[in-house]
């Protein structure tokens, strides 16, 4: 499904070359649940953004379904994202001016899906927010906001779901509920899941764990 080949990522910081990723290789097959763990600043989110085509590597390639992805231009990558990918962010990234329903509808509208409203209602129903569809993000709790974000991610039925610290902004109990929801929906839809977290407990729920340290990825073993 996704392959990373000899991936390098460097940034210039005050004229110093900072190497975040060192020739990293990775292969994720369809339907797999992969957790990428590592301490803060280890480059987890950078790796995720490269795999999702949100950023481009300094060197190396990313392939999606065998197709060279990282060398496409921004619009080319956007088209691939629209076709295959969904996202759940640590800080939810809901648009404050849109209601819960409108937020979920947004990617469907972008894809030109005909029954965007019905699909979004169904998605919100699945995350238990049927009664909150017309509420704005600021009228929702953190957990509720993340449930809207999950509904938004699954509404387009993506082949791959990227989740970046999905419980990072939530308390333990709420986080647990969100994770149950995320894994439940993932199982139901058979989606490939790429999860970035520093939470070992959360990572343990994935079929496969990868540790990112000093820019190098190592397989941790089966859960």
């Amino acid at each position: 499904m996704i392959q990373a080949q000899d991936l390098y990522y460097e940034i210039n910081h005050h004229h110093n070359q900072l190497r975040i990723l060192h020739g990293l290789n990775l292969s994720i097959t369809s339907g797999e649940q992969v957790a990428i763990i590592g301490s803060s600043g280890s480059g987890k989110s950078t790796l995720l953004s490269l795999l999702a085509g949100l950023d481009v590597p300094t060197r190396g390639n990313v392939l999606v379904n065998g197709q060279l992805f990282s060398s496409l231009n921004e619009d080319g990558r956007a088209a691939v994202r629209a076709k295959y990918m969904g996202f759940v962010f640590q800080s939810f990234q809901l648009l404050p001016a849109l209601t819960a329903l409108e937020n979920v509808m947004l990617p469907l509208q972008l894809n030109g899906t005909a029954n965007a409203r019905a699909l979004s209602m169904a998605a919100l129903n699945k995350v238990g927010l049927r009664e909150r569809t017309s509420h704005y993000p600021k009228q929702l709790s953190g957990g509720e906001q993340q449930r809207v974000a999950i509904a938004r991610a699954f509404a387009t039925a993506p082949a791959i779901l990227f989740a970046d610290e999905p419980t990072g902004n939530l308390d333990h109990a709420t986080g647990q509920m969100i994770i149950d929801l995320l894994f439940g929906l993932n199982k139901e839809a058979g989606t490939t899941l790429v999860l970035v977290t520093h939470d070992v407990e959360l990572a343990n729920r994935c079929e496969r764990k990868l540790q990112l340290s000093q820019g190098v990825l190592t397989e941790v073993g089966q859960a």
Binding site: L54, D75, A78, A79, L95, P96, A97, L106, L140
Partner: protein, 835 residues
């Protein structure tokens, strides 16, 4: 395409519901309303003005010729569907029994006047009756002066040439009496059908032939363009521009005021829009970043933004045009009766102007963000970088600044006013930046020298808030300063300037001119003034002269390009002499003569005349005075306020220069109501005196000033509403950031009181600094406008400046506190969810 429209519509609707668009739309609506209201109104006024001018000409346009009007012109005009009438003016003796009197005969076609009414009476009463027709054949209408000189009444018969006419009415008011009122003998109006029978028009007769035209403005333009190149020697076209300079001057000032107020509204609305666009842009960029993440193409997003811009601009324009239309109805109501005829109907043009303005303004605001969005990559969202600005602040505001300047130039209609405004704005932004920086530096030092404490730290935090948000504070302060400056300017312009303008034509402004006073009659005229209780009058000498040479060159009419210059050079000058300059004149260049120079061959010229004839300071002019050449050197140029209705002269010399030449005298005075009999007595005992009644003209000017004053007050009140919207937009623009900051402060243990003090200090500082800058700028601008452009005196208004500073330093923090208060009372945990 459908996807783009659908997305744009849903995004716009959501943004509207969430309140992110309200201030932006409000600012846009107000800007469009201001422009269209003034545009609707000035357009109607402009049409009204040409009608007003038409009343003075008897039509919309006149072809004047010293020979019979070319038949081709008449056919051309009729071919275009214009109304035409021919008139003939010439001096001739009018005989009644044993008396005779030189009169200015005007023979007119039966359908004259094409514009306006004549007003007649049977008895010479003060009020006339309007008629829209010319005298019937066999009938003559005469001015009261002629009736009094010949001692005739309605029903008597007069001889004009070889024809006898019955006096049908006393001509009370003939608005079509354009041209130089001082050269006119009393008027006799008759029907052109009787002209042949008088046998007065012979070969070589000095007749002023006129073809009067009226009709649609575009047709008139077409006619003018066709005929102008065909005009022969001795033929010229006269339009409203050539009508009475007194009225033109008053109307020009009124239009400048209106243009100024419209410009003010545009500037304010643009500032409000810039400020109001900040939350809109922030939310849009966030939306676009998320959309990019979910796979939206760049082209799609740009199209969505463009469509959103179109939707917002179009609907705001529609509402704005509607508001503008309603506002101009009020304006028209206030200006009602300003013109003798009704204001013409509104046209569609301002609607198109409104839509164009709305689109231009919003595009100018959105354009830099579209540019910025081009570079926005999806990774920004993961790194929370959506607020970083890939383009500089200057570049971000550049299109809006250019659009604003464009609007200013377009609205001001006067390069000087527009340039002054733009310069003041640019200067003010710079001064604001320096002021904020200097203030934070000084205040920082001051507070660090005070003993530590909760209060001190809160105040210090507030002051440093200006520095933390230096860019934003500066934008906000420029907004406040501009808003306050414009409001102050309005107060100054509407108060002081308008008062001065009205004062230039006081209740006792002269309403009669008496000319032809002989040297030995000066004493009796002075006695008449004393007995009638008329004060502050002056009697000026007048010597007729013709300009023959300019700097040794013989004056040749062909050398002048403009019709006005040709006419000025051709006609006789009335030279006058004076020891001191008249009080309503203003020296523009050179210097007035001293007591020792009273016999020097110096000349003082009116600035406009000098410009038209290409005469400069230091030039020598030769005049032919009663056959004797007299060489004079131009030693100064004066600006003359013609609309004061006082006797004024294009050319003045020191007193001893013209002593030996034959002079007649002229005076202007205010004849109080009920003193007509005394004046009649004076005329009777001195029949050679010619008294010209300018009461009607004066009344016309006064009406224009009064009506326009109320109309302007109304436009200014509207600008005030726009100004307040700037203040509101400035608060809304920075509210989100302040809420975040206040929440964090409270999380870290600051009390509500401390947060309140910090913000009140910050806004009080902003208000005070903005008010100081605004006071200085507004007074400078008002000075420039009053002295340089309107030519009326200016006085610095300290009380107003102090009041504005006080109000700004209290009201701005209060308004800010009110808008933030809601958030300060919410528990921080709840706020953290929403930030």
């Amino acid at each position: 395409m459908m996807l783009v429209i659908k997305l744009a519509c849903s995004q716009t609707l959501s943004l509207w519901r969430a309140g992110a668009l309200r201030v932006l739309v409000l600012a846009l609506v107000l800007a469009v309303a201001a422009i269209t209201a003034v545009s609707f109104f000035t357009q109607r006024v402009a049409s009204g003005l040409s009608q007003q001018g038409g009343l003075m000409l008897g039509g919309d346009m006149v072809i004047v010729a010293d020979h019979p009007v070319t038949q081709g012109y008449i056919l051309e005009a009729q071919g275009l569907g214009l109304d035409t009438a021919l008139t003939y003016e010439f001096p001739s003796m009018v005989v009644y029994q044993e008396s005779n009197q030189l009169a200015q005969i005007k023979a007119v076609d039966s359908n004259f006047p094409l514009r306006g009414d004549l007003s007649i009476t049977r008895t010479g009463a003060a009020q006339g009756r309007s008629v829209d027709r010319a005298p019937n054949p066999g009938e003559a209408w005469i001015e009261p002066r002629l009736a009094s000189l010949l001692e005739v009444k309605v029903g008597d018969t007069l001889d004009v040439g070889e024809h006898t006419l019955r006096v049908g009415a006393i001509l009370h008011n003939e608005p079509s009496r354009g041209g130089n009122i001082f050269s006119l003998s009393p008027r006799l109006l008759m029907n052109a059908q009787d002209l042949a029978a008088t046998r007065l028009i012979q070969y070589g007769s000095r007749v002023r032939h006129q073809l009067v035209l009226a009709g649609d403005a575009s047709k008139l333009n077409q006619f003018q363009q066709k005929v102008k190149p065909l005009l022969k020697k001795g033929e010229r076209i006269e339009t409203v521009r050539d009508a009475r300079p007194e009225i033109k001057s008053a109307l020009d000032k009124a239009q400048q005021f209106l243009g100024l107020s419209a410009m003010v509204s545009v500037i304010l609305a643009m500032v409000a829009m810039l400020l109001a666009s900040m939350p809109f842009v922030k939310q849009s960029l966030n939306s676009f970043a998320v959309m990019r993440c979910f796979g939206a193409q760049q082209k799609t997003l740009l199209c969505v933004l463009a469509t959103q811009t179109l939707i917002i601009a179009f609907f705001s324009a529609l509402i704005g045009v509607l508001v503008g239309f309603i506002v101009q109805l009020g304006l028209a109501q206030l200006a009602d009766n300003l013109f003798l005829q009704r204001l013409p109907q509104v046209s569609l043009q301002p609607v198109l102007v409104g839509i164009a303005v709305s689109l231009t303004m919003l595009t100018a605001v959105v354009l830099p963000h579209a540019w910025q969005m081009r570079k926005l990559s999806a990774v920004n969202i993961l790194r929370l970088e959506t607020l970083t600005q890939p383009i500089s602040a200057q570049a971000k505001f550049l299109p809006a600044a250019i659009a604003m300047m464009g609007m200013v130039f377009w609205q001001a209609g006067d390069m000087n006013i527009a340039l002054a405004t733009v310069l003041v704005m640019a200067g003010m932004s710079l001064v604001v930046l320096i002021a904020v920086y200097g203030y934070t530096l000084l205040a920082g030092k001051f507070f660090s020298s005070l003993p530590a404490g909760n209060m001190r730290s809160a105040i210090s935090f507030g002051v440093q808030g200006l520095k933390r948000r230096l860019g934003l504070s500066a934008v906000q302060m420029v907004g406040f300063s501009l808003g306050l400056m414009v409001l102050m300017l309005l107060a100054l312009v509407h108060g002081d300037l308008l008062r001065n303008w009205q004062a230039s034509l006081p209740e006792d402004a002269p309403n009669r001119f008496v000319i032809n006073i002989q040297p030995d009659q000066i004493e009796s005229v002075s006695q008449f003034f004393a007995s009638a209780g008329i004060k502050d009058t002056e009697i000026f000498p007048m010597v007729r002269a013709r300009l023959t040479k300019h700097n040794q060159q013989v004056v040749n009419l062909e050398q002048f390009e403009t019709e006005r210059a040709k006419r000025l050079a051709e006609r006789e000058f009335n030279l006058s002499w004076a020891t001191k300059m008249q009080s309503d004149n203003q020296l523009v260049s050179g210097k007035w003569w001293t007591q020792d120079e009273l016999d020097q061959p110096y000349l003082s010229l009116e600035q406009g005349l000098a410009e038209s004839l290409g005469i400069q300071l230091g030039d020598t002019l030769v005049f032919d005075v009663a056959g004797i050449p007299m060489t004079l050197k131009v030693t100064n140029l004066r600006k003359v306020q013609w609309d004061t209705m006082r006797a004024n002269f294009f050319a003045v010399t020191p007193p001893d220069v013209l002593n030996d030449y034959p002079a007649s005298y002229i005076s202007s005075f205010h004849l109080p109501a009920g003193r007509y009999a005394q004046l009649n007595q004076l005329v009777k005992t001195h029949p050679n005196l010619t008294v010209i009644d300018t009461e009607a003209l004066l009344q016309q000017i006064r009406t224009i000033i009064n009506r326009m004053s109320s109309a302007l007050a109304y436009v200014f009140a509207f600008s005030l509403v726009v100004g307040l919207s700037v203040l509101y937009a400035a608060l809304v623009a920075t509210r989100d950031e302040r809420v975040v900051e206040a929440t964090l402060l409270r999380v870290f243990g600051a009390s509500r009181r401390q947060v309140n003090i910090a913000y009140i200090t910050e806004f009080a500082s902003i208000g005070l600094l903005a008010a100081v800058v605004a006071s200085v700028a507004a007074n400078l601008l008002a000075y420039f406008i009053s002295i340089k452009i309107l030519g009326i005196p200016f006085e610095f208004n300290l009380n107003l400046a102090l009041l504005v500073m006080l109000l700004a330093a209290t009201l701005i923090p209060m308004a800010a506190w009110l808008s933030l208060r809601g958030f300060l009372n919410v528990p921080p945990r709840q706020l953290l969810n929403s930030i």
